[in-house]
């Protein structure tokens, strides 16, 4: 069973690593993200949200779903630990 699990993990890891071969190079100016997404954020974010910190503007507004479910994930982790470990005081 352990060998099977190890093989499954290894296979998934290899597939994921193979997938990264198609990624754009680090800081590649010709990648789609740098050509379309980043310039729009840099040009419009301050105008559209009045938040000088672009990171906060993107995290809180443009990528609000991501941040919301990040919070939910942390919440679920805390809830799981409470459910598993905490005991009633006798």
């Amino acid at each position: 069973m352990k060998a099977l699990a190890f093989l499954a993990t290894l296979a998934t890891g290899i597939v994921l690593l193979y997938g990264t071969r198609d990624f754009a190079a680090w800081g590649d100016a010709a990648s789609p993200a740098s050509r379309h997404v980043s310039p729009v954020y840099i040009e419009r974010a301050v105008k559209e949200t009045h938040v000088p910190n672009l990171v906060t503007a993107i995290l809180g507004d443009y990528r609000g779903y991501d941040t919301m479910f990040e919070t939910v994930v942390i919440y679920c982790a805390g809830l799981a630990v409470v459910c598993v470990l905490r005991r009633q005081k006798t």
Binding site: T49, T56, G64, M68, Y75, G78, R86, K89
Partner: protein, 159 residues
């Protein structure tokens, strides 16, 4: 878990006067800094997650330097649970409120229909409100994780 607690008790690090006094002096400033990081997220690196972790760390520091019961005196289990749930509810509630007011889910400019500040100002304010929710949730969850993992769920002595 029990072995870890015994080791911590054996080292007797909690009864150090210098550590206790320093922690007692530092905790208010750490909490103030945590609030600053949350509130100032619009202008400098920071925001809900980072500020929440700093706020949570101040309670964890209290629990480490004294013991778990002392930190429970400053934040009870009940308060902690309420804050954690409230934080997530603030975020999802604001998102839902935007949808109910006729905008899109998480589109803060729809809140303009509630109080007229202008859609752009509301987007800025919406980010702030959401960050407060994130900070509250992260703080209480950090503290409760430490309580549960540090005491094996018994909430008695802690590490």
């Amino acid at each position: 878990m029990k072995r870890l607690q015994e080791q911590a008790r054996g080292r007797d690090i909690g009864d150090n006067l210098i550590i206790r006094t320093a922690v007692r002096l530092l905790v208010p400033f750490i909490q103030l800094f945590g609030l600053y990081v949350i509130v100032h997220g619009h202008y400098s690196p920071g925001g809900g997650f980072q500020g929440g972790v700093i706020l949570g760390a101040s309670f964890i520091l209290l629990a480490l330097a004294y013991d778990l019961r002392t930190s429970l005196r400053f934040m009870s289990e009940r308060t902690n649970a309420i804050l954690g749930n409230a934080g997530v509810l603030i975020y999802t509630g604001i998102a839902l409120l935007c949808a109910l007011l006729g905008g899109m889910f998480l589109d803060y400019s729809a809140l303009d229909r509630l109080i007229s500040l202008g859609p752009i100002e509301w987007r800025s304010l919406g980010i702030f409100l959401v960050e407060v929710g994130v900070g509250t949730a992260v703080m209480s969850i950090m503290v409760s994780l430490f309580w549960d993992l540090g005491s094996g769920g018994e909430m008695d002595e802690g590490l």
